[in-house]
Symmetry: C2
Subunit: 645 residues, 2 copies
């Protein structure tokens, strides 16, 4: 140890005063607080004191995270990513086709959208588990918003071009949010929100698979449980038992392998390979039994060839510009919320962190690139990412594998998927979803924090009975309400002396604390803001009265306000303090402040409150303030101890 | 003093542990937190231990504040209220007429609305300065919303009945909000918001008076400065110099009396009587010179007779129910916001407090009563209340005086106002408004708190360039953003020992503080919530690195977390602490907690974090924790001081 031996001081009074910090020029404090708000992670920290060539490499790594992790990439990782990539490819193809149909776009667009965007994301994204692709909600919204202006069946080319343009606007919006450093919005998705949101989304996705399992041809476009149940039970005559039997068998097979792999972690690969095995088995089964003629739906014919360019199809000058921009903004925001929530969920499982700003830029760039290569809006869909996670992916290479596999499929293999039964894909999705309904986490939330449990249940119910966005809005609103309530209704406590110490603590938490005659010590545990100024005044008067009643005291002389935990104060708070001071003066009492922080000290000084109260009445510790008050109480016995009015 | 003489303890170690509070049943803690949120003022406190008769009287006083202050009412007060009441009557009549025209309703409704509602408010309201009447914004909204469904010129009776029904719904909504104890919404209108809002509203009202001053017949219905300026300067050929000269003379007279009264407070009555004098002088002038034929507009003919009942005209079954309810809800909320903001503003000037819940109930009851007596939506208009305040009103009796005066006017005096020139009323309003643009308060805000200044300017610009509601929304959003940012970006600080004391304070605020070798002490000044968990982790790592760099230390062994100011924690925060603990363990360091509050202690216990860290590592004070760590550091020299990885 470099320093001299440390000696404990024995005196209690140190003679130090609470100093008023020197005032900073406005631009300096503005710069500092902007930096704290938008650049808390200090992204340029590592650039300091580096040669220009190193700076260039670091900059590239910042925008292309692949350059950072690629050198550390191992063959072990590749094996895992290969399996995950192939597994999600087997999902990407039918999902892409069905969502494209939902958006009233040509089915092949779903495959195109699983080729270019995943490649862009693999280079720019910071999540290791996100599998890129189209999503149901955004597809539905595209259809309903653009469909209001242009009929997709009557003007298919115009409709297609508008969809590309909307995708372009969504991408620009997403990238802009990221560049403006608004990634901290992601922090407002709390642990509890994510538990509820994931369970809700898993439930909804499972319900959607009833279409595939029961072999239904018509199904509701809504995602809430009421619509789905109505859709299922109004067409009981359409249920196909062949499909249901096949689905249940595969589901049983998948669950069994999962259970086995969980019990014997060495055999994890059994569970990881099961979905692909199911696809192959299912396709062979249909091919040899011709089950497609007996109620088992298959993927069917797909066109060959890679994405054609679509840059020239972006139309900015048409009369539809307003509706296209609106569609782009709304679907862009919803896709962003889903993608980031999903990425964050899996990051939480694996205990790593996602940079919200980088994610937004990555989503934005991938949609801008997509809009130029015949893709429509993509993000990180929950179901595909869950399968990716379950299949044991390690890095974004699984996206590259998927893109390559989709490319090969587009070029050569489309005929092979002709016989893949949709019901097998439904089984794969359901088995992945069931593992994500984390009821144990919900029980834990209930035990530890009731409000977090309410947030979680709010998100779940919102997603299941409303929609994904309603669930998110409910959970985020409740979370923000909690923050506002914390500030609007802060905790105040009367302090007493812990016996045989110079420590002062709340009477409620430490019933052994001693009351000090003639002195009332109050502490507030929150910033004093407009939202609580009124409340605090009422509260303080109430506490004071209570204390007087309980101790039967009539000779109160000093009120000590412990400001140690008041991190900030605004002008409403200062006005309130001024009023309290006047009220205390009127009753012939004295007010002392203890340990205000530097920001509070600065504002009290500027508003002349310090002058008003007298700087000698500001103490460094409660013990010092009590000591000084006691000294005055005992030496100036002649001073009249006035009654409370 | 009842207690034994107080003796200062000399020992620093008191041997007390931070106790885990006993867990409460769920319903008890729920009840307590609901009470804190909705009944912080404890309205039933004074009812406790009272005989039933006294309880009845207290209850009546709670709902009818007039019973509380009426017994203390003096003749001095009455003189002031009489002058104020007569002054606002002279405003109420032309204002009522012009706003009723704005709402496409018969002009006489404006007078009716200044008779019944003020009487109800005088009994139930808690503001002393609010003058009740109709407002421009709500009148405009009524016309535009109802006008979409029913043409007022083609179906005047139906339109009238719908307006009464909308008023009824607005009243029910307002009273309901009050009964549900949502009055704390008012707390979100901060000091800064009100300074900006008042200045903005005063500017807008002054601009509106250009119509009267310039004698214009057509004028925009919008309130923003751009529309008003366009309206004024596109009809320069319509300007009437006679009107303008008269207006400027009266304005000069009013300003002069105000200035004189301000310099010589004894002659306050000169300024208070000036508006009424102006009205009388103006009317006489017009009567004798017949100026109404030379470009000076006058009020004109008014019908005699009191309010006819309209209870039977409320229509709940018609096809227009939806639009009527919508109109009622929207105008009700806007009127409430304006009325409460205005009441709160003047309460701030006079240093008394308004109970938001009581105000809402009073507004609601006055509109319900109004809807049954041929009145439309009323609230506390800014201009009329400002004149009331300036005329020196003392209590709500000025409203009773106004109502009586309006009643007498309705019964007998309508012909007397025939010749009152509108331009005089404009001058009265302008002179009242100019005193309310409080630029000194804005300068004070800038000096003390830059963010409050931004809120203030936001409210001003919103009101002047947009509308009253836009201004309010901007200011409230900014204020809430500030609270959220406070929680999302809390202050953390590294602590050091103040020389010759056992006190530990931030290095930044106290540069004299000493670093303690081998120990790093951190404090956070905010609750640990989802919104800041990520940020805090990054911040702590950053601070640690900085400290290591600045001191050149390589032998860090203990990290002490001062939790004294962490008033609350949620599950996201606990997860973050667990991660931090794991990270610290991995590096061979030890984590100690200091002084967690009872709520935090309870949650740490329930989540098993306390078990994980070990309860012996939770200390009551920083000094104790440092003492214990130092003891271990110096006695266990054999333990390897590991390098930071």
């Amino acid at each position: 140890m470099g320093n001299a031996d440390y000696v404990f001081p024995s005196s209690g009074d140190c003679g130090h005063r609470v100093a008023i910090p020197p005032s900073q020029p406005f631009y300096k404090s503005l710069k500092k607080s902007l930096k704290e708000t938008f650049f808390p992670d200090d992204p340029v920290r590592q650039f300091k004191n580096q040669p220009p060539s190193r700076k260039f490499i670091l900059g590239l790594q910042y925008f292309l995270p692949i350059l950072e992790w690629a050198p550390r990439y191992t063959f072990q990782y590749f094996k895992a990513d290969l399996i995950a990539g192939i597994t999600i490819t087997s999902l990407a193809i039918p999902q892409g086709i069905s969502y494209a149909k939902l958006a009233n776009l040509p089915p092949i667009l779903g495959l195109y959208s699983s080729f270019v965007p995943p490649l862009v994301y693999a280079m720019m994204g910071s999540s290791r588990d996100l599998a890129v692709g189209t999503v149901a909600v955004a597809s539905l919204l595209t259809a309903s918003m653009l469909g209001k202006e242009v009929n997709a069946n009557e003007h298919p080319t115009l409709y297609l071009h508008l969809a590309f343009t909307a995708t372009f606007f969504a991408g620009v919006l997403q990238a802009t949010l990221g560049i403006l450093r608004l990634g901290f919005i992601v922090d407002f998705l709390s642990h509890a929100t994510i538990v509820g949101f994931m369970a809700g989304a898993a439930t909804v996705v499972c319900l959607q698979q009833l279409k595939g399992i029961l072999g239904l041809e018509h199904f509701t476009h809504a995602t809430d449980v009421v619509s789905v149940m109505r859709s299922v039970f109004t067409q009981t005559h359409q249920w196909r038992w062949e499909s249901a039997v096949l689905g249940c068998c595969f589901l049983f097979f998948l669950m069994l392998t999962r259970y086995f792999s969980k019990r014997r972690p060495r055999f994890f690969w059994i569970s990881a390979l099961a979905p692909l095995t199911s696809v192959i088995l299912g396709s062979l089964l249909v091919y040899f039994t011709h089950a497609e003629n007996h109620g088992v739906q298959v993927i069917g014919h797909l066109k060959k060839g890679l994405n054609p360019p679509s840059l020239t199809h972006l139309t900015f000058g048409s009369q539809y510009l307003t509706v296209v921009m609106k569609t782009g903004i709304i679907t862009g925001v919803i896709a962003l919320a889903e993608g980031i929530a999903v990425g964050r969920s899996f990051a939480m499982f694996k205990n790593y962190h996602i940079d919200g700003n980088k994610e937004m830029i990555a989503f934005g760039m991938m949609n801008i690139a997509g809009s130029c290569t015949s893709c429509y809006l993509t993000t990180g869909p929950f179901s595909r990412s869950a399968v990716n996670f379950n299949a044991g992916c390690k890095t974004a290479v699984s996206n590259i594998v998927m893109a390559t596999a989709v490319m090969i499929t587009l070029l050569f293999l489309t005929p092979l998927f002709h016989y893949t039964p949709l019901v097998v894909l439904s089984s794969i999705i359901i088995s992945a979803m069931l593992g994500l309904i984390d009821y144990e986490a919900a029980v834990h939330l209930w035990q530890v924090d009731k409000f977090d449990f309410i947030v979680c249940i709010g998100a779940y119910i919102g997603v299941v009975f409303g929609s994904v966005e309603i669930g998110l809005v409910i959970a985020v609103s409740l979370s923000i309400l909690r923050v506002l309530l914390f500030v609007a209704r802060p905790r105040t406590s009367a302090l007493g002396n812990i016996p045989n110490s110079m420590t002062y603590r709340s009477f409620v938490q430490y019933p052994v604390a001693n009351n000090i005659p003639g002195i009332f010590i109050l502490r507030v545990d929150a910033p004093i803001y407009f939202a609580n100024a009124n409340y605090l005044r009422e509260r303080w008067i109430g506490e004071e009265e209570e204390k007087l009643k309980s101790t039967g005291e009539t000779s109160l002389q000093y009120i000590i306000l412990d400001m140690g935990c008041v991190a900030s104060i605004d002008t409403s708070g200062i006005s309130m303090l001024e009023e309290v001071k006047k009220n205390i003066d009127r009753r012939g009492l004295k007010l002392a402040l203890v340990n205000p922080g530097s920001e509070v000290m600065k504002k009290l000084d500027k508003s002349k409150f310090l002058e008003d109260i007298g700087q000698e009445w500001v103490y460094l510790t409660v013990a010092e303030a009590v000591g000084a008050c006691n000294f005055m109480l005992h030496t100036c016995k002649s001073a009249p101890a006035r009654e409370i009015v």
